[in-house]
């Protein structure tokens, strides 16, 4: 029956039908570029935002190719401070080398969510909540360093090893240390590449009239200014680890939790404003993280622009190169799921430096280290704090007394 139907269809379509079917098969076989080598995609949001011409976009693509190579053949300028041998293990299509070692680890394990370019726009990205990280702005949340600093290599390794609880990021603990190490290096590579790309695209605005809209293709500018400004921060990360004083050994836990609670609801640490009176993360909940905020703000800018042709192109870019913005809810502290790790030390880091890229501000400087420890102890008690109605026993913020 089925074959009869299809025969009928084919004959009914006649010659032109056959042609069209062949055309479709061709599109299916080659049109999706599955057989062409993988390529990095230009940061079209930034390019369009900076209103680059197509010649300027091409210049950026050429500079990036010269500095970083391709997804199959990554190369590095020594100033990038990256280990090319590690990168080669992670880069390229999935395959085994002559010794049976797995290659192409990034595309096997990471690319489907984080994208070949590390733009967080892999094929599965739109279906995940939260969205996978876009490495290109060079901002990472869960790290042991001060807010403005990059994560250390070990911070990235820890995330790969443990995964991120409460998100789609799994643990890769089944990979060897060597493989995890290579992937961490490759994430750094994509991030340095992506951040350099953004710097390059923004540099067009800073050009003088005499430069006729073209970036200088000199070592001084491309390496000395653009790449170094990004790569140096990665190299400095190891020296930026937050100094954490030991939690006092003789601490009275009950008293510490009570003190932490007072701070949580008080005007100094002010955790209650976002994490809510109940600690359920239901306070200030209509804010965006930095990745989404860029899209929200730019969408507004596009909507208000007078240039119809540019608006059409920008809307096209927003539809194809950005995900629909989502608000970022403050963490529900009663679930006991801490994305950056559940060690008391991890919670200390989060409170001390805040969470870079997220609305969570840094408490360091205004909240003393021992008080941060009290808040850590209180937060760790919240999932087990079952007495009474949630929040019913909370002292509402003591105002004006």
């Amino acid at each position: 029956m089925r074959s009869g139907t299809s025969r009928f269809r084919l004959s009914a379509f006649g010659g032109s039908g056959m042609l069209a079917v062949c055309g479709l098969l061709l599109v299916a076989a080659t049109g999706c570029g599955r057989t062409s080598p993988a390529s990095f995609r230009l940061n079209m949001v930034e390019a369009t935002k900076q209103r680059l011409t197509s010649a300027q976009e091409q210049q950026v693509a050429t500079i990036l190719l010269a500095m970083f190579g391709t997804p199959d053949e990554p190369v590095c300028i020594p100033e990038a401070g990256l280990d090319e041998a590690k990168l080669r293990l992670a880069a390229g299509p999935v395959r085994s080398d002559i010794a049976g070692r797995k290659n192409g680890l990034y595309r096997e394990h990471c690319g489907h969510c984080h994208g070949v370019t590390g733009d967080g726009l892999g094929p599965t990205a739109a279906f995940l909540n939260p969205y996978p990280r876009d490495y290109r702005p060079g901002v990472f949340k869960f790290k042991s360093t001060e807010r403005a600093d990059k994560p250390t290599h070990d911070d990235l390794v820890r995330i790969l090893h443990n995964g991120i609880v409460g998100t789609s990021m799994p643990s890769f603990a089944l990979l060897s240390d060597l493989e995890i190490d290579a992937l961490a290096e490759y994430v750094k590579y994509l991030s340095i590449r992506g951040e350099t790309e953004i710097e390059l695209m923004r540099a067009f605005f800073e050009l003088d009239e005499e430069d006729v809209g073209k970036l200088p293709e000199t070592r001084e500018f491309l390496v000395g200014e653009m790449l170094t400004s990004v790569a140096e921060k990665w190299q400095a990360a190891a020296d930026a680890v937050i100094a954490v004083p030991e939690m006092p050994g003789d601490i009275d836990l009950v008293a510490s939790i009570a003190k932490g609670k007072e701070l949580f609801y008080g005007d100094k640490a002010n955790c209650v404003k976002c994490h809510g009176v109940t600690g359920l993360g239901d306070g200030q909940a209509n804010d965006y993280d930095d990745w989404n905020k860029v899209i929200v703000q730019w969408s507004q800018e596009v909507a208000g622009d007078q240039d119809a042709a540019w608006v059409a192109r920008a809307s096209h870019v927003l539809a194809g190169d950005a995900l629909r913005p989502r608000t970022i809810p403050p963490r529900n502290l009663r679930q006991g799921l801490y994305r950056g790790g559940r060690r008391p030390l991890d919670l200390y880091y989060r409170i001390h430096a805040g969470i870079n890229g997220a609305p969570m501000p840094a408490a360091a400087g205004t909240v003393a280290p021992e008080d941060i420890w009290h808040i850590v102890n209180y937060i760790r008690s919240l999932p087990y704090d079952l007495d009474g109605e949630l929040g019913a026993d909370r002292p509402m913020i003591a105002k004006g007394d």
């Binding site: 379509f13 050429t62 190719l65 208000g304 408490a363 205004t366």
Partner: protein, 291 residues
């Protein structure tokens, strides 16, 4: 014919959706040029880096002027204040959008930023006196705030409720408890002004600009600005910005032929020693603010 049309439409649908062709075409690298460029950037320069020898001028000069808005003073738009209302809407207090502040009588346009893009000499060393960036009644007191890189800023909170101050692009996002402050010393130029927000009170917004040489001014309520102690005898390029300006990155593009004011909101001047150059009244048409 209808069938053929169907096949064609179907085929284009597949082309449009199935293969992700809904993305704009991104430019492709020029492979040959990239190979040559790679050689260039891998070759250590022979140290003959062109030292930007200053033009060697002496003396100092002042630039001044006044921005006015061509249209009428717009009606102030009230902001939605829905947090900490016992402080932020105290006694029926209302907060207003401050992105376009026009002086009622003289039509002066406030909060236009003017800064020097590059200079070879700076008269005064960086001051260690603290500047104050304060927030009161749930708004940043200064809608636009300028500082010199290296000069400490006391980020204050004069409210009885806690704020946080989040300076975009700098990774500074710090809790500022009620009645307290914290010192922030900018260590890098911002380029164009960047947004400052409070995540606890989402309506709060200001802009800040940090410049290495401190040659930056923000126009006052009457629209006037002054940058003193500018290096005389060298071509200086000035950048002009306004929150609502429709130029790239907020560049304020004006039509001032004698200054060759560009679309990027820039103009060039060479000042003489001890000169006080008054640009007079610079009229900002509504169109320059995208209105």
């Amino acid at each position: 014919m209808v069938r053929l049309l169907f096949v064609i439409v179907g085929g284009s649908l597949i082309a449009a959706s199935g293969c992700g062709a809904s993305r704009v075409d991104a430019a492709r690298a020029d492979t040959a040029a990239a190979a040559t460029l790679r050689e260039t950037i891998l070759t250590a320069s022979d140290g003959a880096a062109v030292s930007e020898a200053g033009p060697g001028g002496t003396g100092w000069a002042t630039l001044t002027g006044m921005f006015t808005f061509e249209g009428g003073a717009p009606a102030a738009k009230p902001l939605v204040v829905d947090k900490d209302t016992e402080v932020c809407s105290k006694d029926g207090m209302k907060l207003f959008d401050r992105s376009l502040l026009v002086d009622g009588s003289g039509k002066g346009l406030a909060n236009v930023v003017v800064f020097v893009r590059k200079s070879s000499r700076v008269k005064n060393p960086v001051s260690s006196d603290q500047l104050v960036f304060d927030q009161k009644n749930c708004e940043f007191i200064a809608p636009v705030f300028a500082a010199r890189v290296g000069q400490p800023i006391d980020v204050r909170n004069s409210d009885p409720v806690g704020h946080n101050t989040n300076i975009s692009g700098t990774s500074f996002n710090q809790l500022i408890p009620a009645g307290q402050g914290t010192v922030y010393t900018p260590n890098k130029e911002t380029g164009m002004p960047v947004m400052v927000t409070c995540n606890i009170h989402p309506w709060m917004k200001a802009y800040t600009v940090f410049r290495q040489d401190g040659y930056v001014a923000v126009s006052g309520a009457n629209g006037s600005f002054t940058i003193p102690d500018l290096p005389a005898g060298e071509p200086l390029e000035f950048q002009v910005w306004h929150e609502r300006a429709s130029g790239p990155n907020g560049a304020l593009a004006l039509s001032v032929p004698e200054l060759s004011w560009s679309d990027k909101g820039r103009f060039k001047l060479t000042l003489d020693a001890d000169q006080v150059r008054d640009l007079g009244t610079l009229v900002v048409p509504a169109s320059a603010l995208g209105m």
